[in-house]
Symmetry: C4
Subunit: 212 residues, 4 copies
């Protein structure tokens, strides 16, 4: 009984940090749709076919929207899984979480750069800028788990196996995204392929953790 | 007593999923107003009547705002009613919920396409694009209830009657919206009529469920 | 003890309605700042004085921001005070709450219309549009308390005095805002004066309720 | 046991105030990214190098984004720390909190003014406008703690040491930001230096409080 009560108490401290982070994730993910602009078909060409063509020509924006949406979503699921093991907050966790959230709110910007310049000769720079953003976010994620997984903050119910596995896996994030950034200078598709492969990997990782 | 405690415990796991989803729904529904642009009446015609005319001419935007607002609201009420029967989350529920939220955040875009082109010859394409979006959302909703209504995730308090009724009703969503999409190519009003009829149906469905 | 538990249980049902509404209020109130546009001072006139003049010339936008901010804030405090007396939800409360939230999300639009046309001959139309919006919102607020203050939804802790007082006061909302709307056709300052007086009245009302 | 229950009860009253404030902070912090515009490189110059140059030239916007992000984040951490000592709300706290939130939602505007005019002769006005905003916010923060730290609202668990220390420290906010505002008329870097030094000070203050 008293144990139950302590659990209720334990959760309290990270409550507002989670609520605030959830808010930032939710807003960042919803703002992505603002990147889609209503196409301006010339009045002379107001035919159904012209509008259909204009909507189809925006495919890089749709791809960008879907990619960034699942990117932010997977980051949110990871954030969620990490904080389930934490019951106290301190200034360092707030700061590390802040850096991570800055990265999350920034995602729509490189995505729209990529959508805008994917079919131009400047695509290499756009892809490098996109992958480079994730180098920074991967570093922030690593700082975040380091701040979150300290003894005094860990919940009594924390899975030490999850903690060890996460610390190990997140170490590979920054160098792999750096490779994707450098790859952009050679070939845009190679760079975006590495990014996509990594997101599938992060999604699989968390699926297994949640199942176990 | 212990039973009460377990209920409190049960709710916990879907808490952040609901908070995040509520955030996304709330933001998507509020961003709709950003589609309304302050009309630019020429300085020479700064008469009260000219501004009144300009405000009235925006009626398709107002209709679009109100329609999309209640569309997203009804989806939120359904989402709310579904998750009341669920107490645990896993990766598949997160993924299905994510697809659904992607659809929700997308709604403002086809709505503004429709508002922009409703009074032009391109209205058929705009209406097909609008109804087509709901084909995808209806599929996502079906995946979502399939993921949510699995045994291990269901709450002990889940109403099996609600679960069975919802699984049955949601099966009709995708084919009916597909009919609305095809109808748009024949007649715009027929397509929008089917969409409106369906929303009234969904609203009625949930009203009865909540009452029972 | 069991009584305490019941209270915790009671709150649960309106929890997501409140969370969703809080989200909509919070977003509507924050979107107001998007109406402020960075003034474009001509490069030739990039003097400190020219920028200061440009920033000062935006005063109607600042007044609009502050007014709408406190308008939405007072509506939120009222919403908060009303729902403290309610512990269950049903489809009608969701619907009435939805209509009210639609009104709340709409506020930024008439505010920016007013800010844009306050110093032009079209000010009368802008003020009538602004006051007219609040006629609709006052009607929605009245529907909302009628839906919320039904027996089956009221909390066991509801203050019947507050309920009766609120039902009485809210009846005056629609006719008074209608007067403000008609007054706009005679004199813009009279209309805005009635609106301001009413907001001070609503703020005072709730202050007394909260104190008591 | 009963004591534990009372704590749970105590938290309830500030719950929605915190949820609403968290929402406003989260949205204000996320809207900052909307200030970043996709650079429009001329089609003729669609080279990787031209896009890289265009992205680099936006450095004042990046600096503005990062500065404002951490500014709002530190304000949120302070808001969080203050309300942990409070368990009841009344109309004055709602009003003081409202003024503070108005200041928070306003931050993106002076930041984008500063980013836009930092490299022009009008920088002095932009810096004074930026620092001047924080004079108002510092006054709002002082009113907020005065409203929050009244006997009837304080939690039984409130740290009187934290209360006294905060009341003392926050008194210095308005005059120091006023100095930064006046300094802007002499030298832009001096003004921004004072602002930065103060944010580091506020961050350090709260770090110590949270640790203790």
């Amino acid at each position: 009984m008293i144990d139950e009560m302590e659990k209720v108490n334990e959760e309290k401290e990270t409550g507002r940090l989670e609520a605030f982070s959830d808010g930032v994730f939710a807003i960042a993910i919803t703002l992505l749709v603002l990147e889609l602009k209503v196409p301006d078909v010339a009045t002379a060409a107001h035919s159904p076919a012209a509008l259909a063509r204009a909507l189809l020509q925006q495919w890089p924006s749709y791809v960008g929207l879907v990619t960034s949406f699942f990117t932010v979503l997977i980051m949110w699921v990871h954030h969620h899984a990490i904080l389930r093991n934490v019951c106290r907050t301190d200034a360092w966790l707030h700061f590390a979480n802040g850096c991570l959230l800055l990265g999350v709110t920034f995602v729509p910007y490189p995505t729209s750069i990529l959508a805008r310049y994917l079919q131009t000769p400047a695509a290499k720079t756009a892809a490098a800028f996109y992958a480079g953003t994730f180098v920074l976010i991967a570093i922030c994620f690593y700082l975040f788990i380091r701040a979150a997984f300290r003894k005094p903050l860990l919940s009594a119910r924390a899975s030490m196996e999850f903690v060890a596995k996460t610390c190990h896996e997140y170490m590979f994030g920054p160098p792999l995204y750096l490779a994707a950034t450098l790859a952009a200078l050679l070939d845009v598709r190679l760079s975006l392929g590495i990014c996509t492969a990594l997101w599938i990997f992060w999604a699989t990782t968390i699926t297994k953790s949640t199942r176990a």
